[in-house]
């Protein structure tokens, strides 16, 4: 098994650390600056503070199939058609993959042709979800500025990259100029404290952070996550992924020795606890347990125990939040040989082809299929309600994804409950929302 599928891009195929492209010596006084201020100061070539607007070079631009047509259209029709650094642009076909109808297929056909003609990196149908793929391919590295045409681009913060989501215009301009404008964000510091209890998932921690901050509590801010040492590379992606659900611009997991074993990390890319932050929140891990985000808002987070027994029509395990090997294995562990309940469907979509390969190699997929799961093509699946598992009116889905907005996964009369893979598995076995260890008994 490669380290990358569990760990979301640990090392290069050669087993080396991913090298840095950033200066080792910043040449700028970074004292007293937050992580975000340090990163943008080095990029801007001058000391900058929260609130300033900077224009900085971009290390990687990412587009998905639903945005690439308009972003590439703007490049071609409005901006002269020349992409400054094609090698720094990735196109990932994941949002509707494989294509669901002729309209979609035709659009993707055009995107492929343009990507090839312009020499962009193309990750086509089945390679996986954009954020997972970029991490596996080493296209997000500590200190890099990565702009993605997808709001969950905060995921790159797992390796302390300045990853942030933008729309088609910004992405087009970033491709043509090699730069982007950013307001240097304030910082909200989240400190995970105490020992991590066994069984506590990164998803439960991430949802607790969103509950504590609320859906707009970190608007335009950088969330600095301290104390994540007990969480693995993939789990850190879960933490950074959900930062945007508190409104954040980036969610930066503070670099530690574990990160430095996988990536060259410039020495200046480190947290200064003396830097002034807008808000500091402590999250004691020992107090946390399985939680669920109840429709229709992500910050509507409650203990699973308060909602056990809700009938579940579909369980969806996957997405950039929780579709990695460790998540699939957790489902198998919690199922513990039990089949999916009568009247409930279990849909499992690995986050990438590497995840799928590794889950095939270690027997995880066989165990899931034996339990009655359907396995989907690596990609976003039904997360945003376009294909491969959309919901009917009145249906309830327990999902390991990141949004439960009205109509998100199909009918506006369907309800989506967001949970960890463990809770999803317990719910698949019980046919109702259930606790991982105690089932329907809270």
């Amino acid at each position: 098994m490669s380290a990358s599928a569990t760990g979301a891009a640990a090392v290069t195929d050669a087993g080396e650390r991913w090298p840095t492209t950033l200066p080792v010596e910043p040449g700028i006084d970074l004292s007293g600056l937050t992580l975000a201020e340090r990163m943008l100061s080095v990029k801007a070539g001058r000391r900058v503070r929260a609130g300033e607007v900077v224009v900085v070079p971009v290390d990687q631009v990412m587009m998905v199939d639903s945005i690439a047509p308009s972003a590439l259209g703007i490049v071609e029709d409005e901006l002269g058609g020349v992409i400054r650094h094609p090698e720094r642009v990735s196109v990932v076909v994941d949002h509707v993959a494989p294509a669901s109808n002729v309209q979609v297929a035709s659009t993707q056909q055009r995107v492929r042709a343009v990507a090839r003609a312009k020499g962009l990196r193309l990750f086509d149908v089945g390679r996986g979800i954009c954020h997972q793929v970029l991490m596996e391919e080493g296209l997000a590295r500590p200190g890099w500025v990565v702009v993605g045409a997808d709001s969950h681009s905060t995921t790159y913060g797992a390796v302390c990259a300045f990853g942030t989501g933008m729309g088609a215009t910004d992405i087009a301009l970033a491709m043509v100029t090699g730069r982007t404008w950013l307001k240097v964000p304030e910082t909200v510091r989240v400190r995970l404290t105490g020992e991590r209890p066994p069984g506590l998932s990164a998803k439960d921690v991430a949802l607790e952070i969103v509950r504590r901050l609320t859906a707009d509590g970190a608007t335009y801010a950088s969330i600095e996550i301290l104390g994540a040492e007990a969480f693995g590379p993939g789990e850190r992606m879960t933490l950074a992924n959900l930062a945007v659900e508190a409104g954040a611009k980036v969610g930066l997991v503070v670099p530690d020795d574990a990160l430095r074993r996988r990536y060259e990390v410039p020495p200046w890319l480190t947290v200064d606890e003396g830097a002034s932050v807008a808000l500091e929140v402590a999250v004691p891990l020992a107090a946390l347990g399985p939680v669920v985000s109840v429709p229709f808002q992500v910050d509507n987070v409650h203990p699973v125990a308060d909602h056990v027994g809700v009938h579940v029509d579909q369980v969806f395990v996957g997405t950039c939040t929780n579709g990695r090997l460790e998540d699939l294995r957790e489902v198998v562990r919690v199922l513990d040989g039990r089949p999916v309940a009568e009247g409930t469907r279990l849909l499992v979509i690995p986050a990438s082809s590497r995840v799928l390969q590794d889950a095939l190699a270690d027997g995880t997929i066989a165990a899931l299929v034996a339990a009655g799961a359907s396995i989907g093509v690596p990609g976003c699946g039904p997360c945003m309600g376009r294909h491969m598992g959309v919901l009917a009116p009145g249906e309830v889905c327990v999902s390991t994804s990141n949004r439960n907005f009205m109509g998100r996964m199909g009918s506006p009369e369907a309800r989506v409950y967001l949970t960890s893979p463990a809770v999803a598995a317990a719910s698949a076995a019980a046919g109702v929302l259930a606790m991982p260890e105690t089932g329907v008994n809270p």
Partner: protein, 181 residues
């Protein structure tokens, strides 16, 4: 767009209007076509909206307008429909940036939000920085909008960030294009 003194209506929304509310993902241009996606604006939340909104109408929301996806086609749908301005208590980051990029005036103004009800008749006077509410009896009430930041003013002057860039070869607020990184 609306004539200078056109009277438009207010569409009042609540808190946390998200991008799936503004344009559900299943109606993305990729899914339904570039020419029709705007017809699905607020398809779930206010199905009557896309069919009856008029150019120049004003959208009013509560906290955290536009949370969720980075999809620019959500505000693009509002632009195609001719929405004149959005006033909210606060905006989500990516969506605000998309509004700015598209040149859709967006104002953070809780007092104006408090003053406006769904269906109110208003004149949107952006050049004068105000919204004028017109009552059935013809009385007028002036609601002052907060000043537009310089960065945004530069964009609005040209119509969009793209138009700005094409004209000036740099980003708004950037003194000159920096050397190649």
């Amino acid at each position: 767009m609306s004539a200078p003194h056109a009277v438009n209506r207010v569409w009042r929304f609540g808190d946390a209007v998200n991008t799936d509310d503004i344009l559900p993902g299943k109606y993305a241009p990729l899914m339904v076509g570039e020419d029709v996606f705007h017809r699905y604006a607020f398809a779930h939340l206010r199905p009557e909206f896309a069919g009856s909104v008029r150019p120049g109408d004003v959208l009013v929301g509560g906290r955290n307008w536009g949370l969720g996806s980075s999809r620019e086609y959500a505000p693009q749908a509002l632009k195609v429909l001719g929405v004149g301005a959005i006033v909210a208590r606060s905006f989500a980051r990516i969506h605000y940036r998309n509004l700015l990029n598209l040149g859709i005036p967006a104002f953070t103004a809780g007092d104006v939000v408090d003053a406006l009800q769904d269906g109110d008749r208003v004149r949107l006077e952006l050049a004068r920085g105000r919204i004028v509410r017109v009552s059935d009896g013809g009385e007028e009430e002036v609601l002052v909008l907060p000043p537009v930041p310089e960065f945004l003013r530069e964009v609005l002057r040209e119509g969009s960030v793209l138009a700005f860039f094409k004209r000036h070869g740099r980003f708004p607020g950037e003194s000159e294009a920096p050397p190649e990184p």
